[in-house]
């Protein structure tokens, strides 16, 4: 008996992917270092064409050649450890796929290192959570391009399919490109979640609406241009009752949120590459701020805000304005994500295909949305588009929304409700369309105290001047 595919790492994601692969007609050999997880997997896989091995030699001995081994282990040293354990069993032409949330620079290193031994390393982002992994995730493979043709049938068969039946899996680029794009996906997801939570915050805290009414609003929003998985589940969350107390579930959940690797990595990549992707960073900082619950509760009793002074004669009109603010902010957040990928693609020479990336994200993953069709269309029409904001569809959406958008932010600020996501999105928009920014004063200051020099408006770029200011 031989197995088509090997999988190492049988946590939730690993198990679900194994079942997905098996359902698509492949036989598997599976392994986990942890005997507990082996046992659990054996139960889960009992009627399936999946063999759970007790050790690595047994796991590997009946794999078809060239071997295709998918790693679903925690990012960081576990990936390196598994690779070095596997190494003695691997031959030229075998493919190792890292499907975890690895940092893209590590994936670049691993791709290069394994390539020296003729082993093809693929680092792929996989998004969709538990359900996505089982029924079809969005898959973003990068790494060694010579390995792609070998694993393409496998990865495309288990991926989600968009409405036009195109699989949400296509080659992203060399080295760490796949994990980079997954990292940006997660950064955008941070932004989407933060901005949705700000819309909810305004509906609840400013307008005083209850969960049921808000659920209806999100459900309605999900019928329009905001149509997306995250809006859909928000509506469902708002409808859910707590079994223990009978109260709306949302009111029982503590407002502190964790943040792990990828949002932070996206922000750091933005800082490193000098891309003003502020909305992602603000979303990370908003999560951090939420984690100081006890300090916030104490401070709320000491630090005064403004007296709330909200009233509206046109409730539905105001709700519609919040929707417009959310949509305009979302466009800016995606514009930042794509700007960040564009810069990375230049710096790391990945030759990313933005229309394909939008296409891959249309189904299976957490940020799946109608809206990604518009992005796909934009980059299909203009593959070298400098910025999403410049594409007529998005430009016009923002032009139509901006009065409402500005008004909503101004009202929140005057009422003391923090909405850093919306706020950073509009800063991005207004800065990007500013022919002139006050940075000339920064340059003058730097030249004043540190003789850093500056460029002049009336001289060619690249000529630097210094003034004796005193």
């Amino acid at each position: 008996m031989s197995y088509n595919v090997g999988i190492i790492g049988l946590g939730v994601m690993g198990q679900m992917l194994a079942l997905n692969i098996e359902r698509n007609g492949y036989s598997l050999s599976a392994y986990d270092l942890d005997p507990e997880k082996q046992k659990n997997a054996k139960d889960k896989f009992k009627d399936k064409n999946i063999y759970v091995a007790a050790d690595l030699p047994n796991f590997i001995k009946d794999l078809e050649t060239p071997k295709q081994i998918l790693l679903m282990v925690p990012a960081g040293s576990p990936v390196d450890n598994v690779i070095s354990d596997l190494k003695p069993f691997l031959n030229k032409g075998d493919v190792v796929i890292d499907g975890g949330n690895s940092f893209f620079a590590n994936t670049t290193d691993r791709t290069k290192k394994l390539n020296k031994d003729g082993i093809f390393f693929i680092g792929t982002g996989i998004s969709g959570g538990e359900q996505g992994a089982l029924w079809g995730p969005s898959i973003m493979p990068g790494g060694n391009p010579d390995g792609w043709p070998l694993v393409k049938p496998l990865l495309q068969s288990i991926a989600a399919k968009a409405d036009d039946d195109i699989p949400c899996c296509d080659w992203v680029g060399n080295d760490g490109a796949g994990h980079f794009v997954k990292m940006i996906h997660n950064g955008i997801e941070y932004g989407d979640m933060q901005m949705i939570s700000e819309a909810y915050f305004l509906l609840e805290q400013l307008m005083g609406l209850g969960p049921r009414e808000m659920a209806d609003i999100f459900e309605e929003w999900n019928q329009g241009e905001l149509n997306s998985y995250l809006i859909e589940i928000t509506s469902k969350i708002l409808r859910k009752k707590d079994e223990e107390t009978g109260k709306p579930m949302i009111q029982m959940i503590l407002d502190t949120v964790g943040q792990k690797g990828t949002g932070k990595w996206s922000s750091q990549a933005a800082l490193d590459l000098g891309v003003p992707a502020l909305t992602i960073a603000k979303s990370v900082f908003a999560r951090i701020a939420s984690s100081y619950k006890e300090e916030r509760v104490a401070a709320s009793k000491i630090l005064k805000g403004p007296k709330p002074h909200f009233s509206t004669a046109d409730k539905n009109g105001f709700i519609e304005n919040i929707r417009k603010a959310l949509y305009a902010s979302k466009i800016c957040s995606y514009a930042q994500g794509f700007q960040l990928m564009k810069r990375a693609s230049e710096v790391y020479e990945w030759d990313l295909n933005y229309a394909n990336i939008a296409s891959i994200w249309r189904a299976g993953c957490i940020i799946r949305a109608q809206f990604l069709n518009n992005i796909k269309e934009a980059f299909t029409a203009e593959p070298n588009l400098d910025n999403l904001l410049l594409y007529p569809y998005f430009r016009d959406s923002i032009h139509d929304s901006q009065v409402a958008w500005r008004q909503i932010i101004a009202i929140s600020i005057e009422n003391g409700l923090p909405i850093p996501g919306f706020n950073s999105a509009i800063s991005y928009y207004d800065s990007y369309r500013a022919e002139l920014l006050p940075a000339r004063l920064v340059q003058a200051q730097r030249d004043f105290f540190g003789a850093h020099t500056y460029e002049r408006v009336d001289k060619p770029r690249g000529q630097y001047f210094h003034t004796e200011w005193e």
Binding site: G11, V12, M13, G129, E130, Q131, M193, I196, S197, Y200, F201, I233, T234, I237, K240, L254, D255, V257, K264, S267, L271, G274, P276, L278, A281, K282, V284, F285, A286, S291, Y292, E295, A299, I302, K304, P306, N387, Q402, R406, A410, I411, I413, E414, L417, I426, D430, Y432, R433, E435, L437, A439, R440, L441, V442, Q443, Q445, F449, H452, V457, W469
Partner: protein
């Protein structure tokens, strides 16, 4: 011939000026530079007739030093520092001291302290702020590293440091290993924030009130006489008053609006992310510089993307005062973030930071020197365990007094299409910090919905985690590998 008090390697402008400053305070200095012609140029030029000894090898430099020997590096941050450390070590004896006075990243300083101490020597990594002029006339000096070395270098450092009005030096021991460079990094991050916020005040005056450089100059002059009194407001005043020799226009109007950035603002933001501190204003300032750098793209976009068509109608004099209040409130929040970051880092890296002393060190010599730092010193003198600057009575009262103007200025700027990311982020910090309730409960619900990440409940003790089966499908196990 008697031996020198200290040796210095690296004769760029900063190095030369520090040497001259030391000599001016009665210390003899041996100097060395890798390109030795610089040594000759220096001893025959600016150092001529002074108690400065030119050396042409590391060995010679070391032989010229009094024990315990103190060798200070003013070389480029990064690899050069490690290389010099390795070149110097073989020539030193137990108890000798290596000092890095460059802009090193604090994790490197942590590592180097450990390494140099393992060789039986002592190490100091110190921030030096004040630019070229400060180096010569009195910088702010922020030393950290091997505490045992402090007594030996203290007389030199404290005499060359800037002095505040009461004569106390802007130099005190900061803490173990990388603490000095960390504090210098936060200083620079705060400097990024200050500069960006001053820019936003300038931009609002220019774009909403239509004021010229000439009209703004007296405004900054007046601000510099009040609670905003600081070096950066002072030089802004002078910059606004300066005319371009070539065109006769205000100097500011001929400068291109693209600002460069070096490492420290970015490092501060990364440190904030790493220790989990919501210090977002520095990041905004870094991003604002990044945005300024794509000038051509902005010019093109300005022709495609429309702003709002609104006329903001305000009383000019009153609005200028509102901008001042907004700037001061934002500045307080920016410093509160800097101090929160130091506090979290002190816990993480086990540094015993003295926050009042740090404020004092920044009172003179450095770029962010300001009247205002005296208030911070007072706040920490009153309560050394102050959890957040915002909770101090003085700062609390200022913000309460200013917040109406602050909110109104930001709201008007947004309505007018003028980007004010640092003002907004400072306010978001304030409102986030004083919010008993934030919408993060929805984030938790979403994460639990799609990834089984679990959540805590408001009616159960902290640390108990719950999972809801939201769909009726799916599992009840919590996720272990998928992290969003």
């Amino acid at each position: 011939m008697s031996k020198c008090d200290i040796g210095l390697i690296g004769l760029a402008v900063m190095g030369e000026n520090l040497v001259l400053n030391m000599e001016n305070h009665g210390f003899s200095v041996a100097v060395f530079n890798r390109t030795t012609t610089k040594v000759s140029d220096f001893v025959e030029g600016r150092a001529k007739g002074k108690n400065i000894v030119g050396c042409f090898s590391i060995e010679e430099l070391v032989q010229n030093l009094e024990k315990p020997r103190k060798v200070m590096l003013l070389v480029k941050a990064g690899n050069p520092v490690d290389k010099f450390i390795d070149m110097i070590i073989p020539h030193l004896d137990k108890g000798d001291i290596i000092i890095d006075g460059g802009n090193s990243h604090f994790p490197d300083t942590i590592r180097r302290t450990r390494y140099v101490e393992s060789k039986g020597l002592l190490y100091i990594g110190t921030g030096v702020s004040g630019g070229e002029e400060g180096a010569l006339k009195g910088p702010s000096i922020m030393p950290g590293g091997s505490e045992k070395a402090w007594q030996a270098v203290k007389p030199i450092f404290q005499s060359i440091a800037a002095k505040v009005a009461d004569g106390s030096p802007c130099c005190e021991w900061v803490g173990d290993n990388g603490a000095g460079h960390f504090v210098k990094m936060v200083h620079n991050g705060i400097e990024y924030g200050d500069m960006q916020m001053i820019c936003e005040a300038y931009s609002i005056m220019k774009n909403i009130l239509g004021m010229s450089a000439d009209e703004m100059q007296p405004v900054f002059k007046e601000w510099n006489e009040g609670e905003l009194d600081s070096y950066l407001i002072e030089i802004t005043r002078d910059i606004l008053g300066k005319k371009d020799d070539e065109t006769g226009k205000p100097m500011l109007d001929v400068i291109l609006d693209t600002a460069g950035q070096k490492g420290t603002g970015k490092w501060t933001s990364q440190a904030a992310l790493d220790v989990g501190c919501p210090a977002q204003t520095v990041a905004e300032a870094v991003f604002a510089r990044a945005m300024s750098a794509i000038k051509e793209e902005r010019v093109a976009a300005s022709k495609v993307l429309k702003g709002p068509e609104v006329k903001i109608d305000v009383n000019k004099k009153e609005f200028i005062e509102m901008i001042r209040q907004a700037l001061y409130a934002s500045k307080i929040c920016s410093y509160a973030q800097g101090y929160q970051l130091m506090k979290l880092a002190a816990e993480e890296y086990k540094w015993d930071l003295k926050y009042g002393e740090i404020a004092l060190m920044w009172r003179g010599g450095c770029i962010i020197r300001a009247q205002f730092l005296g208030k911070i010193k007072e706040a920490f003198d009153k309560n050394p365990k102050l959890q957040n600057l915002l909770l101090d009575d003085y700062f609390k009262a200022v913000i309460e007094n200013n917040q109406k103007a602050w909110r109104s200025v930001i709201a008007k700027a947004i309505e007018a299409g003028i980007p004010v990311p640092a003002f907004s982020s400072a306010l978001a910090y304030y409102d986030g910090y004083r919010s008993e309730v934030l919408p993060a409960n929805l984030l938790q619900a979403q994460r639990d919905y799609f990834g089984a990440h679990t959540y805590e409940r408001i009616d159960k003790p902290r640390g108990e985690f719950y999972h809801t089966n939201w769909t009726g499908r799916g599992g009840t196990t919590a996720s272990s590998t998928y992290n969003a």
